[in-house]
């Protein structure tokens, strides 16, 4: 008997997605991405001069990510400022995005990516990566591909995609496993793989496959959001 998801979704069904670009007019590029109740915004500044100068790399540019939760994004107020968790996620976000960006075109410069979570309901790092990848495209940065990301889960023995906080805390049977992945949309390269919990080796490939399929759905949404932004620019404003 398969587990029933509390919001009635099928195992391979995503939460409703909202994607939008141009939410921060001051930034060179910006995007909002939401999986259900998880909302992330990302703003991209640059390429611009990197200070301090000793961090400059004359052979390629630097991508600098900053991820954080806003203090009202979770039930118990999150103390503002960097924490061990947000620093780690900033770093893995950076690593997830770097394979997609042509950094060698910007020697001695930096591209700053700021990601903030407005509201958290699991999968915040993945929503952040989706938003950041759209924001980078919006900023006109040359990229190999867009990056799509989501959290695959295993509830007891069932593999499901895009898990919520409630599902993350699932405790029956084998419990819950949370596998965050990021993938370059048009290739089979994964740029982020993180896991909390346990999974059987033979199930792992199924989980990746389910994730890759869901990523292609996310890619379509990202693509649509980017393209629609140009169409609305043409007609009225």
């Amino acid at each position: 008997m398969a587990v029933k998801r509390s919001d009635g979704r099928k195992p391979n069904e995503l939460r409703p997605i909202i994607a939008k670009i141009g939410v921060v007019p001051n930034a060179d590029g910006s995007a909002l991405f939401a999986f259900g109740d998880t909302i992330a915004i990302a703003a991209v500044y640059g390429p611009r001069q990197l200070h301090p100068q000793h961090m400059q790399n004359p052979s390629k540019g630097v991508l600098r990510c900053n991820y954080d939760l806003l203090s009202f994004s979770v039930y118990d107020r999150k103390k503002p400022g960097p924490s061990r968790r947000s620093q780690e996620i900033s770093k893995v976000t950076e690593w997830a995005l770097i394979p997609a960006v042509y950094l060698e075109q910007f020697p001695n410069s930096v591209i700053d990516v700021q990601i903030y979570i407005l509201q958290a309901d699991a999968g915040t790092r993945t929503a952040g990566i989706n938003a950041a990848s759209m924001a980078l495209a919006h900023a006109g940065i040359p990229m190999r591909d867009l990056v799509c990301s989501l959290a695959v889960g295993k509830l007891d023995k069932e593999i499901v995609v895009d898990i919520t906080k409630e599902e993350e805390d699932f405790e029956d049977g084998e419990g819950a496993t949370d596998l965050a992945i990021a993938k370059l949309a048009n290739s089979d390269e994964f740029s982020l793989l993180q896991m909390d919990g346990k999974i059987q080796p033979e199930l792992f490939n199924n989980a990746l496959k389910a994730g890759a399929e869901a990523c292609s759905k996310i890619y379509e949404v990202q693509k649509k959001a980017l393209k629609e932004a140009i169409n609305t620019l043409g007609s009225d404003e």
């Binding site: 693509k223 620019l233 007609s235």
Partner: protein
């Protein structure tokens, strides 16, 4: 004065826009634009096997065999012979440092000033905060060197500057400066459009300056329409009737 500025525009123009709507489509990074050995990857694209793949978000355009991307968003990427509008940020021993809104600040050597200047009197000609229109004459790694020698270049006095998205500049200039000339005629303002997206406007009254700014922002907001010139004409009609 008007003619001088026009010539500066034409020299700095990377590509003309407008009326050539042909077959453009919106692409995102990683998207396959066309398939076939015959096509050549132009700016903003790469070849991947048989496919030409986009590496930028923008409009894909096929001109003959070459496929390239016209960017719609993004920071200013300096190129040689671009005319830019900048602001003096520092005075050094041998020249001025100029903020041109790119990844690196530009340098204007004292030798590139149209006339001989004594080192002690640099401030009298260009002080910190002054706005200039200048041309990029060399570009080496992180050094951008500017020159003021050329028609339409020099210090910009009175008026004000504002910023638009740099990739919209070709639209604002129009074919051989047609769009910016139209706006100049209709508002009676002097306008200098820098390739870096900084625009300087100076006119008889503040009202006409603001009108020019609004017209330019209107043009910059329309990226995906043809017959922009007529649209701007009717925009001016509306604005005149309204006031």
């Amino acid at each position: 004065m008007k003619n001088k500025i026009n010539e500066a525009h034409e020299a700095g123009e990377v590509f003309s826009d407008d009326s050539q709507e042909s077959n453009r489509k919106i692409v995102v990074p990683g998207e396959i634009i066309v398939t076939g050995e015959d096509y050549l990857p132009g700016e903003g694209t790469r070849r991947d096997g048989d496919n030409i793949v986009s590496i930028k978000f923008g409009l894909a355009e096929e001109s003959g065999r070459v496929v390239r991307i016209i960017p719609i968003f993004g920071a200013f990427i300096p190129r040689r012979s671009n005319v830019v509008v900048g602001r003096i940020t520092d005075i050094t021993y041998s020249g001025w440092l100029v903020d041109i809104d790119s990844a690196f600040s530009a340098f204007l050597s004292i030798e590139e000033f149209p006339k001989y200047i004594n080192r002690n009197e640099m401030e009298q000609y260009l002080a910190i905060g002054d706005v200039i229109s200048a041309k990029i004459w060399t570009l080496k790694n992180k050094n951008i060197d500017l020159t003021l020698k050329g028609k339409g270049l020099g210090k910009l006095e009175s008026g004000f500057i504002f910023r638009i998205i740099p990739s919209r500049v070709p639209r604002v200039i129009g074919r051989e400066g047609s769009m910016v000339n139209l706006i100049k005629e209709r508002t009676g303002c002097n306008i200098v459009v820098g390739q870096n997206g900084w625009i300087w406007v100076s006119g008889q009254s503040l009202d006409s300056e603001i009108k020019a700014r609004k017209a330019i922002e209107f043009v910059a907001g329309k990226v995906y329409v043809s017959g922009l010139t007529e649209l701007v004409e009717s925009w001016f009609m509306e604005a005149e009737n309204g006031s």
